[in-house]
């Protein structure tokens, strides 16, 4: 099986990674560049724990081949916080109690961040729809939805 040299920018840093054809973006992040914030919940595009931004748009990284990411810009949960401060959505999630076990959290943050970029003042229904591809088993989503509203208010 062939290996491909892939040039990507991850959280603002340029990387060149050698990946086999069958490696997903999720595995490349977790294994090749050891960014383990992105989680493997199902490897089937269902749970959203692996959500990252690919050229600014959230995708299930388990459903994207690493080799397809040549020239792409990728943002993972590790890239959300600023130099000295957390992203508003991270702060909101802490404040509103939207974190329990934390496994869905990275994917939720990416999806929520992307939502607020495209819709700075989302309605309750918009938030639910934007997060429907991020499964959470602990919180019942209540405080996650509240966190997104809070982050929108504070922007």
């Amino acid at each position: 099986m062939a290996f491909h040299k892939v040039n990507v920018t991850i959280n603002g840093e340029r990387e060149q990674v050698l990946v086999p054809s069958n490696m997903t973006l999720m595995r490349m992040l977790r294994e090749s560049v050891a960014l383990t914030g992105t989680k493997n919940g199902c490897s089937a595009g269902e749970c959203g724990a692996c959500t990252v931004l690919l050229n600014g748009e959230p995708v299930n990284s388990c459903m994207v081949l690493a080799v397809e990411c040549e020239g792409a810009e990728i943002t993972t949960v590790e890239g959300l916080a600023g130099e000295n401060q957390l992203h508003p959505i991270q702060e909101a999630l802490i404040r509103e109690g939207g974190v329990q076990c934390g496994f869905c959290t990275p994917g939720i943050l990416i999806s929520a961040h992307a939502l607020l970029q495209r819709s700075p003042n989302p309605s309750d229904d918009e938030i639910r729809e934007a997060l429907v591809g991020n499964l959470c088993r602990c919180t019942g989503y209540v405080r996650i939805i509240e966190s997104v509203k809070e982050a929108a208010r504070r922007r």
């Binding site: 062939a2 595009g45 459903m63 080799v67």
Partner: protein, 297 residues
């Protein structure tokens, strides 16, 4: 799905031919072992489950013109194969002229998956549950295909042969779906019944489109397409014909919905039972037709 679903994708070669001809040529010459893919949201899942074992995955997303979405005020809408569903939903031309298509796309899975899923991919996957297929059928969609013999067009109406089976031949690459201008004054509705409120595959789904047609006794033509209730996306022709020949009333809509239910041949599967599916075709068809009728009259 077996108990031995793999942790990772099986081995394969990723190939990205630079031109359409080279893509068709590669696919034709490796027909048993090569498979084209776009968003990969169906193909990659089935590969990890062991249902598909292509030696080559041919990326056809970036080929000539497949990334464009174009609206022509005479010819209609052409959605390139590589255009993801979120792009379709957000496109002003789609919102203005093909809201039914946007509605169908919006119902698919999740925002993340819609950033990868494509209408052409949905069509080529040829699942009777495909959410966007109904809209493309009732809007008289035409596929643009590039094969070893060059380019051709094929109406969507005759494209599906069975679950996962289409008229595509070795070497074929679908480059776009074209929807002619919708009929003047039309109204459409996509009603999807899943287990969760959002994000599920359909247990049953109804696509309905209605528009003024003075040549008909009813003076309005209705188009219907049903998902997940037959081996292919189903057009209940008898229901459509019935509505063409009556005045449109709650009773005639009710009867049409009943005919639509009679036309389908659903199965019992893990998602739902046949009896329930038939009843839902009837109820959802009636609901969709009534809603459209309210907007038309």
């Amino acid at each position: 799905m077996t108990i031995d679903a793999h942790p990772a994708l099986p081995e394969f070669e990723y190939v990205q031919p630079p031109t359409l001809s080279e893509a068709s040529g590669f696919l034709a010459s490796h027909s048993a072992e090569a498979r084209p893919f776009l968003g990969g949201t169906d193909v990659l899942v089935r590969m990890r489950d062991g249902f598909l074992t292509p030696k080559f995955l041919v990326d056809v997303k970036k080929l000539d013109g497949t990334s464009s979405l174009r609206f022509d005020p005479q010819a209609g809408l052409t959605v390139g194969a590589g255009v993801n569903m979120n792009r379709v939903i957000a496109a002003p031309e789609v919102r203005a002229h093909y809201p039914l298509l946007a509605e169908a796309c919006q119902s698919v899975a999740s925002y993340q998956l819609r950033n990868r899923a494509t209408i052409v991919g949905n069509i080529c996957n040829a699942s009777p549950a495909g959410d966007t297929i109904g809209a493309c059928l009732v809007l008289n969609g035409v596929l643009h295909i590039h094969g070893v013999d060059g380019s051709r067009e094929e109406p969507l109406a005759t494209f599906f042969l069975g679950p996962g089976r289409t008229t595509l031949r070795a070497g074929d690459v679908v480059t776009a779906i074209h929807l002619p201008l919708p009929p003047k004054g039309c109204a459409g509705r996509y009603l999807k019944l899943g287990r969760n409120k959002l994000s599920d595959l359909s247990i049953v789904a109804v696509t309905a489109l209605g528009y003024p047609d003075p040549d008909l006794i009813s003076r309005y033509r209705f188009r219907l397409a049903l998902a997940s209730v037959a081996p292919v996306p189903l057009i209940p022709a008898q229901a459509e014909a019935y509505l063409a020949n009556q005045s449109i009333t709650p009773d005639s809509i009710h009867e049409a919905a009943h005919l639509a239910a009679e036309a389908c041949t659903p199965i019992d599967d893990v998602r739902g039972g046949a009896r329930y599916r038939k009843a839902m075709v009837r109820n959802l068809s009636a609901k969709a037709l009534n809603e459209i009728w309210e907007r038309l009259r």
